[in-house]
Symmetry: C2
Subunit: 85 residues, 2 copies
């Protein structure tokens, strides 16, 4: 993954989670165990369920050694540098 991966939608978030999990060679069940979730729940989130609970998502990210960052919206990486407000 990139330094920070843009994940604007639940589907993008799910894809990123799946990609990271596979890079680690883990199954959904293994990830679920580490995150305290069921395999089915991991499946739904990777598929891009929009109504996932924040705490559930955070548990998965933590298990994958990932974290949130929040940034100003930008079409490209460049505007990351601007300070708009």
């Amino acid at each position: 993954m990139n330094m920070t991966d843009l994940a604007r939608t639940p589907k993008q978030i799910g894809s990123l989670i799946r990609r990271t999990r596979k890079n680690l060679g883990w199954s959904q069940t293994q990830l679920g165990e580490k995150a305290g979730l069921r395999q089915e729940t991991v499946s739904l989130i990777e598929t891009g369920k929009p109504a996932t609970k924040l705490e559930t998502l955070l548990a998965i990210l933590a298990a994958l050694n990932l974290e949130f960052r929040i940034a100003r919206r930008s079409k490209g990486q460049a505007s990351d540098i601007e300070e708009l407000f």
Copy 2:
């Protein structure tokens, strides 16, 4: 806010949302209108409710012109640069 603000917990996320909203000079009601949510819901999220739904959070971030990024966990900004997997 910084280029990308770390928001590891619901409380941190809520604080960041509140700070951004105030910088824009918006009330919770105004933000709620733009995000399709009620003032009370905005209040709960800014307070750091952990079980907020992802779609709700995304609606608020979008209204504030913010977005997610997902990054590898790091104690400081530095490890952002590493490519671990």
